[in-house]
């Protein structure tokens, strides 16, 4: 499929109250990050975040309706056809819908580096399964992505979280240890992540 209307994209409502419309995954795009968002129950359309972890430049395009875009403490009311470009990854950014039909496209990438697909996309894709505590399905979604990117530390970490919650202690330890091998910071994160509460007493659990 090479062509899709915004309203034909998958609609995955996330716990923060916004709806993710996967574009990159739909088309298999590898060269840059691109997704669309529409409001969910809370009216949020872009979750509050920075890009400090990924160091991405981001371009948001209002495709439809009106939104209130917040950058740090500055608020901007935007209409369809307006864009926001954030070159500074430390800026806090978020948006809420001012009309029910609001839709925003987000494009991202890191200057000077080939694009790498972000692990959060898989976490978003698994969100309905996670909310339903369907750990088998959440694990299946992560394993499918892991087959394409076996050395993605964040993906391995997230998979280990799902496995720990799903009672798969051995798989969780194995994937978490591999995540820590690839990125030692994962051990620090694992020390306090409640997903690992049930396996933290294991002698093989990686320590920071």
């Amino acid at each position: 499929v090479t062509l899709a209307h915004l309203d034909e994209l998958d609609a995955i409502e996330l716990p923060d109250g916004f709806t993710w419309r996967p574009v990159r995954r739909r088309f298999g795009i590898q060269a840059f990050g691109v997704n669309a968002y529409t409001p969910g129950a809370s009216g949020q359309v872009v979750e509050e975040h920075t890009e400090e972890a990924y160091r991405h430049e981001e371009l948001y395009v209002v495709l439809r309706g009106r939104v209130r875009f917040t950058v740090d403490d500055a608020e901007h009311e935007l209409r369809a056809g307006q864009v926001v470009f954030l070159r500074d990854p430390t800026l806090r950014r978020s948006a809420v819908a001012l009309t029910d039909d609001a839709a925003v496209l987000a494009v991202g990438g890191r200057p000077g580096l080939a694009h790498e697909v972000s692990a959060w996309e898989t976490l978003f894709a698994a969100a309905p399964a996670i909310q339903a505590e369907d750990w088998d399905e959440a694990i299946r979604i992560h394993e499918a992505t892991l087959a394409e990117r076996p050395d993605d530390a964040q993906l391995l970490f997230n998979l280990a979280c799902m496995e720990a919650r799903g009672g798969r202690r051995g798989d969780a330890i194995r994937h978490l240890r591999r995540a820590v091998e690839l990125d030692p910071d994962c051990a620090t994160a694992a020390a306090t992540d409640t997903d690992f509460d049930t396996i933290r007493d294991d002698a093989a659990f990686p320590r920071a």
Binding site: A31, R64, Q82, V83
Partner: protein, 215 residues
């Protein structure tokens, strides 16, 4: 609205540039915003005008088109597809594509990059802006635009090559050959490919330096 960390603009308030080679109205979004991580530009057209110039992309180059405003008719290979506002179109690199506006004021955004490679500014939009200025007789502004673009993107072989074309057309073969040599250092294969059939360089072909460079 802008500071050095973020910028807001309206696509329909960007002054379109009539890109001479593409024969379409370019909204030079990446250039306007100074984006370095991916390519992004808009094309604006009234009914019947081009909003995606006919072309194919080299292998690995991925382009996503987004109809932001109005309505367009896309030609993808042999297929014709209606694309109202809100439509996203992703086309395999080597597939021929083009689009014309089906309504006045149509805007199509083109977002691009190369799979597995960092985004590089090639500067074709800078050249389109400069060439439009040159066609309007604003030669000093055109040259200043190119000089600024070359300074900002010294690795962009296309900017150097296209400036050589100008020198060729203006009857300055010494400057043209000097620029072609510089462009060859940046990307010899691309320069050879383009120079082979570029009529802008016809005034240089009988010069002995042509064979020294390309022979």
């Amino acid at each position: 609205m802008a500071d050095d960390r973020y910028q807001i603009l309206a696509l329909d308030e960007i002054e379109p540039v009539r890109a001479p080679r593409q024969q379409a109205q370019l909204l030079a979004v990446r250039r306007e915003l100074g984006i370095r991580a991916f390519g992004v530009n808009g094309w604006r057209g009234d009914a019947g005008e081009r909003v995606v110039p006919p072309h194919e992309e080299d292998s690995g180059n991925e382009e996503l088109y987004v109809v932001v405003q109005g309505r367009a008719t896309f030609t993808i290979g042999d297929d014709e597809r209606d694309a109202p506002a809100g439509t996203l179109v992703f086309i395999e690199p080597e597939t021929h594509r083009a689009a014309v506006a089906a309504e006045n004021g149509t805007i199509v955004l083109a977002i691009g990059g190369t799979r597995g490679e960092p985004f590089e500014v090639h500067g074709w939009e800078d050249f389109a802006v400069a060439e439009a200025l040159r066609d309007a007789g604003r030669h000093d502004e055109a040259r200043a635009t190119i000089d600024a673009a070359v300074e900002a993107n010294p690795e962009a072989w296309g900017l150097v090559y296209n400036t050589a074309c100008w020198e060729s057309l203006d009857g300055n073969p010494d400057a043209a050959f000097e620029l072609l040599r510089k462009a060859m250092v940046l990307d010899e294969a691309e320069v050879r490919k383009w120079a082979a059939e570029d009529t802008d360089l016809d005034p240089l072909r009988a010069d002995p330096r042509w064979n020294e460079l390309f022979g």
